[in-house]
Amino acid sequence: MSLRIVVCVKYVPDATGDRHFADDLTVDRDDVDGLLSELDEYAVEQALQIADEADDAEITVLTVGPEDAKDALRKALSMGADKAIHVEDDDLHGTDVMGTSLVLAKAIEKAGYDLVITGMASTDGTMAVLPAILAERLGVPQVTLLSEVKVEDGTVTGRRDGDTASEQLEASLPALVSVTDQSGEARYPSFKGIMAAKKKPVEAWDLSDLEIEADEVGLEGSWTTVDSAAQRPARTAGTIVKDEGEGGKQLAGFLAEQKFI
C-alpha cells in the first residue's frame, strides 16, 4: 500500500535582502527575491528519507502563494519529490496563519494523505504555530519539532528535544510531523534532478477548487490586523575600541557604568 506524504513548503523573501512592508502592511514581495524557506528543505529531506525506507511512497509538495511560489515547488521537485500542488488565488493576498492553515488543510484533504510533513517554522514569519494548527484542523496527531523521525508499520516515531527534556514520541498514521534543522542536512538537487523536475506535474488549484469563500481568507478575512509597522531606528553608533592590551578592562568599565556589574 502506498504511503502518501504531503510536504507543506513556503516561498519566503530572502532574509539577506532588504525586507519591508508594502503600503497595506503586508510583506512587500516585489522588492526582494524569494526562495524555498530553508527550514522547509529539512521537511523535504525527511520525506525523501521516509519514502526511501517505505515499500511504496509518493511525495507531494504543496504550497500556497503567488505565481513566484512555483520556484519553491520546483526546488522541492528537483530534490526528489514526485509531484506538486500550487494553490494560487488573487483573494489570498494578505492571508494570515489561520487562513493559510485553512487553505492547506483543505488542500491536504483533497490531495489525500497518510503523513504531512512541515518545517518547524517559516523563516519569514517564524511563528512556529502552523504545524500545530494544521494538526488541529486535520484532526490528526501532531508529532512536532522532531530532530529524528521514522515511519514503520503505520506508526511514526521521533525525538523532540525541548528546553528541559528530550522526548521520544509515537503516533499512528495519519499524522502530522514537523522537523527541525537538526533532523539532517538537506540534499542539493542534482543536475539530473533539476532536469527531471521540469517534467513533473504541478497542479494549480484556486479557492473554488477547495470550496473556500474569499471572505474566509485574504487581508479582509484575516483573524489578525496589523495597525502599524515602523522601521526600528538604526542603533546609534556605539563606542568601538581597539584592543591594545586593555580591551577587556575597558569593556568591564562600560559594563560597570551600565550597572551590569
Partner: protein, 320 residues
C-alpha cells in the same frame, strides 16, 4: 472587571519567570486568572497570587505527561469555557505556542505570537512584535474572536501585586485527540546550573572565532562571572562545538536579554534575527568590518582569547 486567562509554565509547582511577567501584562488588560496543569499545579498558587492572580484554576492527570500538547489544550479550553475571558496569554515557549495555536483554532480566534509588549486598546489588546530580524516593529491586534497572544520572555518586569489567588479545581474532559501522540520516554536535560537561555537577563555567546569546543570554557567562564546563560552561533553549533539547544538565531532560539555579549560572532542576518532586540549589545571580534559592530553599544576590536579572559578577571575583581 474583565478576566484574562494566563497559562502557567511551571516545573513541579515552581513557576517560571516568563509566567510572572505575563501576570504584569495581564493586569493591564484585566484581572488575571491563572491556569496551572500537571504535577504540583496547586503549589503554584501562592506565588501567582503574590503577582496578581485573582484565581488559580488547577488540574492534574496522567494525560498531561503521557501525551503531547493536546491534553493541555483540552484543559485550557475548559478554563476558557468556564471563565469567558477577554484574552488568553501564554508564554512563548515551543510548547506554549503549540498550546495557544490549537486553542485559537478551537475557539475561532486569531493568534499573535512572540509579542514583546502588550497594552490595552479600544478594540482589544495591542501587541508589539519585532519583524524581519527585528528591523521592524509592528503593532497588531486580533480581529476575530478572543485574542490569544503568546509573549516572549523578558517582555515585562515582574511586579508584586497581591491578589486573592483562590485555588479552584478545573474539571477537564479529554477529547479523542488527547491521546494521539504518546510520550514514550522523557530524558531530562542535564542542568548546567546556568539560567535558561531564552529567559536569561544576560546572554554570553560564542561563534566561529571561538575556534573549537575545547575553547568554549572561556565563554562559559565569562557567563558564570555575570550569572549569564551561554549561547552559540549556528557556525559554532554546526561545527559541533556547542549543543543545538544553545543556538541563537533564525533556526535556533530568539533571545531578548538586558545584555548580549557576542564573542567571535560576525553577525550574519540569521544570527541578528535571534538577538537584535537585546537591550544592550556588546561584541568582541578581531575583524573590525564584522557586521555585528553595526549593532553594538560597545565593541572591542581584538582577539577574544585575550579580551574575554581579561574581562572575566576584571568582573571578578570588581565583584570582590
Amino acid at each position: 472587571m474583565a478576566e484574562v486567562l494566563v497559562y502557567v509554565d511551571h516545573v513541579d509547582g515552581a513557576v517560571r519567570k516568563p509566567t510572572l511577567e505575563l501576570l504584569t501584562l495581564a493586569r493591564r488588560i484585566g484581572e488575571p486568572v491563572a491556569v496551572a496543569l500537571g504535577a504540583g499545579a496547586a503549589d503554584t498558587a501562592a506565588v501567582l497570587a503574590e503577582h496578581g492572580a485573582v484565581k488559580v484554576l488547577t488540574a492534574d492527570a496522567p494525560e498531561f505527561t503521557e501525551y503531547l500538547v493536546v491534553p493541555k489544550v483540552d484543559a485550557l479550553q475548559a478554563a476558557y469555557d468556564a471563565v469567558s475571558p477577554v484574552a488568553v496569554l501564554v508564554p512563548s515557549s515551543a510548547e506554549g505556542k503549540e498550546i495557544a495555536a490549537r486553542l485559537a483554532v478551537r475557539i475561532g480566534s486569531g493568534i499573535i505570537t512572540d509579542a514583546v509588549d502588550l497594552e490595552a486598546g479600544d478594540e482589544g489588546p495591542v501587541a508589539t512584535q519585532a519583524a524581519f530580524a527585528a528591523s521592524f516593529t509592528t503593532k497588531s491586534r486580533v480581529s476575530k474572536g478572543t485574542p490569544v497572544i503568546t509573549v516572549k520572555p523578558n517582555s515585562a518586569p515582574v511586579e508584586a501585586a497581591p491578589a486573592a489567588g483562590a485555588v479552584e479545581a478545573l474539571a477537564v474532559t479529554f477529547g479523542a485527540l488527547a491521546t494521539g501522540t504518546k510520550v514514550v520516554s522523557r530524558t531530562p536535560r542535564e542542568s548546567t546550573g546556568r539560567p535558561e537561555l531564552t529567559e536569561a537577563a544576560i546572554v554570553v555567546s560564542g561563534g566561529r572565532g571561538v575556534n573549537g569546543a575545547e575553547n568554549f570554557h572561556i565563554i562559559e567562564a565569562l557567563a558564570d562571572s555575570l550569572g549569564a546563560a551561554v549561547g552559540a552561533s549556528r557556525a559554532a553549533v554546526d561545527a559541533g562545538w556547542y549543543p543545538h539547544s544553545n543556538q541563537v538565531g533564525q533556526t535556533g532560539k530568539s533571545v531578548s536579554p538586558q545584555l548580549y555579549i557576542a564573542s567571535g560572532i560576525s553577525g550574519a542576518i540569521q544570527h541578528r534575527a535571534g538577538m537584535q532586540t537585546s537591550k544592550t549589545i556588546v561584541a568582541i571580534n578581531k575583524d573590525s568590518e564584522a557586521p555585528i559592530f553595526d549593532l553594538v553599544d560597545y565593541g572591542v576590536v581584538g582577539d577574544l582569547f585575550a579580551v574575554v579572559p581579561q574581562l572575566t578577571e576584571e568582573i571578578q575583581a570588581r565583584k570582590g
